[in-house]
């Protein structure tokens, strides 16, 4: 498959009163046309920042200090303000985490769906109007013909997220970034939104980057899994291989810390401790203070991020010859 996006050594830092937060500290990965990549990690691991950096949507105190992000031959990080604007919402769009706050409360949803179409001059006013109605139908809003002129407060959380998805799809983007699209929703509607995302991915033939902290969801939904820890990639692997053979102790921890209804009692093992400070991260491997297998080398030397098998990358001293040896 052809390559849509390649990120090399991306570093995004935030200036804070107590120092520089290295939220994303040198990550590299690629994404093909039509591929679904899931970025998994705890809160603060740099998942969201790593993708917002691509569209240069990070807050004012943040800056991309190094790296490149080649999207269809153009480096997103070096484009002018106007050039990156032309990509936002047209080639790359985002579905944000909280549909309750991500829609303008005093603008009709139809207008909010039409905006990217009109801003990118994809079609005329009249056509954009019809397109908005059509998109609402596609994302499964009942009575979409009248609902299109309602306000966000007249929609439930799940319905609003459907509207967000409609907005993201408005210009037939090549890449949709879904930033924890179901985290803020009721458990009962999460599956519906995920199915919708899956269907839309087929329908629009887009690539998807799904950001989530739910490893089970990622394994069900994605083609490729990327596990992030403290601003770095711990492991990157095609999903079948990852399910069969997760190599990084952190990946293993994530899997064994999820609830499985069929599992035996006592098999739920949370990862001890908390994610480290990104102002002064731990020496060596950033995961070593929480790693049950940590050895001297882990404390002293930063592990190399290397390919162990075809397309399977991991950053751990204890992985040798494609196997985890503790």
């Amino acid at each position: 498959m052809a390559e849509l996006l390649r990120v090399n050594n991306l570093k995004t830092y935030f200036d804070r009163y107590d120092g520089v937060v290295k939220a994303v500290d040198g990550i590299s990965y690629k994404l093909d046309y039509g591929e679904t990549l899931a970025i998994v990690g705890e809160s603060g691991s740099g998942k969201t920042v790593s993708v917002l950096s691509l569209l240069r949507l990070i807050k004012r105190n943040g800056r991309v200090v190094d790296g490149e992000a080649i999207f269809e031959g153009k480096d997103l990080l070096k484009l002018s303000k106007e050039e990156i604007r032309q990509i936002r919402g047209k080639d790359i769009s985002i579905v944000f985490q909280d549909p309750m706050t991500s829609l303008n409360p005093i603008m009709r949803v139809g207008m909010q769906i039409m905006e990217p179409i009109l801003w990118h001059r994809v079609m005329s006013d009249k056509e954009a109007r019809d397109r908005a109605v059509e998109l609402l139908r596609l994302v499964g809003i009942p009575e979409y013909k009248t609902r299109v002129w309602d306000y966000p407060f007249q929609f439930s959380g799940g319905m609003r997220q459907r509207v967000m998805i409609a907005i993201a799809l408005a210009c037939n983007p090549k890449l949709v970034i879904a930033d924890e699209p179901t985290t803020a929703l009721d458990v009962t509607v999460r599956a519906q939104i995920l199915n919708l995302l899956s269907d839309m991915k087929e329908e629009f033939k887009t690539s998807v980057i799904l950001i989530t902290h739910d490893i089970t969801l990622a394994m069900n939904f994605a083609d490729t899994i990327m596990v992030m820890y403290a601003g770095k990639i711990a492991e990157y692997s095609p999903v079948e291989r990852f399910i069969r053979n997760p190599l990084h102790p952190y990946s293993q921890g994530l899997i064994s810390s999820t609830l499985d209804i069929k599992a035996k009692e006592g098999s739920l093992r949370p990862i001890p401790g908390n994610p480290p400070s990104l102002v002064s991260p731990p020496s060596g491997c950033r995961f070593h203070p929480r790693c049950v297998y940590a050895q001297d080398i882990c404390r002293e030397q930063e592990p190399e991020y290397k390919e162990v098998e075809d397309g399977h990358y991991v950053a751990c001293h204890l992985v040798k010859g494609g196997k985890f040896n503790a």
Binding site: G89, I94, F96, L103, I106, M107, P116, W119, Y151, F153
Partner: protein, 320 residues
């Protein structure tokens, strides 16, 4: 439908509130030391001790109390006043017995009204853009200078600025007249002086309101959809940040209707302010209580107006 019923219900609340305000005002006036008769008599005699005998004085006061209905118990005075007040009949004042208060007010109200409206218009037209610029250029020298003047504008009393303006524009430059209210030229300085306070308040509110909105998630969404700065600010940020500004403009305007006292005095503007200040210092009870009546009525009606405007600005608000 809902809106009309809502307004009617609010009008009833306003009626009740005003009754309470008037009762409190009457009680305060009754508790306050000093009375009209001594002050008026003292002034009438040009500061000399009255030449009337105590008996003559008693007769005079009795006649006065009968004329103004002060010879009945306090609760009855209040009831009598309220009965007429809601029909805008306030009776004569102590200091001007030949002219009913409503006529005095009617003559002066248009002046104060014009002054207040012009000033508020100026305050809004200048204050909102200032706040917007300060917010968009936050933490730059543009922001600091704007906010410095805004702070100064709300701290320095309007009459101080008025005196300085008179000194500069009338005495030194001789371009503007010092007082009066007939020609547009005469209106310039009073309007600017009255506008400065609300302008400063509006600018600071606008700044914080816009900054707040710019941090909202839906602004990030708008940028993520490919909006230019201009489109995002004009279409998403401004309208949302204007909603809270309406809240402060309403009451500010109501206070301007009666609160331009010092400026009216300074520039000899024949408005309500002068009338009401004299009422307080002269213990002119009918006029004093009427000024309270007018002030509270206009504040409450303005608040009602603001709430109705809200319904048009913000679709989430529905009045039941």
């Amino acid at each position: 439908m809902g809106l009309v019923r809502y307004i009617l219900r609010r009008l009833f609340t306003i009626f009740v509130s005003i009754v309470v305000v008037i009762i409190i005002t009457y009680i305060l006036m009754w508790l306050a030391p000093g009375e009209f008769f001594n002050i008026a008599q003292f002034q009438a005699s040009g500061g000399r001790v009255a030449t009337l005998t105590p008996e003559q004085l008693q007769v005079l006061i009795k006649g006065f109390e009968e004329k103004y209905g002060l010879n009945v118990p306090l609760w009855k005075q209040i009831l009598n006043y309220l009965k007429d007040a809601f029909r805008f009949k306030f009776g004569p004042s102590f200091s001007n017995p030949n002219e009913p208060i409503e006529v005095q007010i009617a003559r002066r109200f248009p002046v104060t009204f014009t002054l207040a409206i012009l000033s508020m218009a100026l305050a809004v037209i200048v204050g909102i853009p200032l706040g917007v610029i300060a917010a968009l250029k936050r933490n730059t020298w543009v922001d600091y200078i704007t906010m410095f003047f805004s702070m100064a504008g709300s701290i320095i009393p309007a009459y101080t600025i008025g005196v300085i303006m008179v000194l500069i524009f009338s005495v030194w430059l001789r371009v503007l007249p010092t007082s009066g209210w007939e020609t547009p030229k005469q209106m310039i300085m009073p309007v600017i002086c009255v506008a400065l306070g609300p302008m400063a308040v509006i600018a600071r509110f606008m700044r914080s309101s816009l900054l707040d909105v710019l941090n909202q998630d839906y602004i990030r969404t708008a940028y993520a959809k490919g909006g230019t700065d201009r489109a995002v600010i004009m279409r998403h940020a401004l309208r949302n940040s204007l909603i809270p500004i309406v809240t402060i403009i309403g009451p500010q305007l109501a206070f301007l209707f009666t609160g331009t006292v010092w400026i009216e005095n300074l520039f000899r503007v024949p408005g309500l302010g002068q009338l009401f200040v004299n009422a307080a210092s002269m213990r002119d009870y009918p006029l004093l209580v009427t000024s309270t009546f007018i002030l509270s009525l206009s504040v409450m009606l303005m608040n009602l107006l603001v709430d109705v405007i809200y319904a048009f600005l913000d679709p989430r608000i529905k009045y039941e």
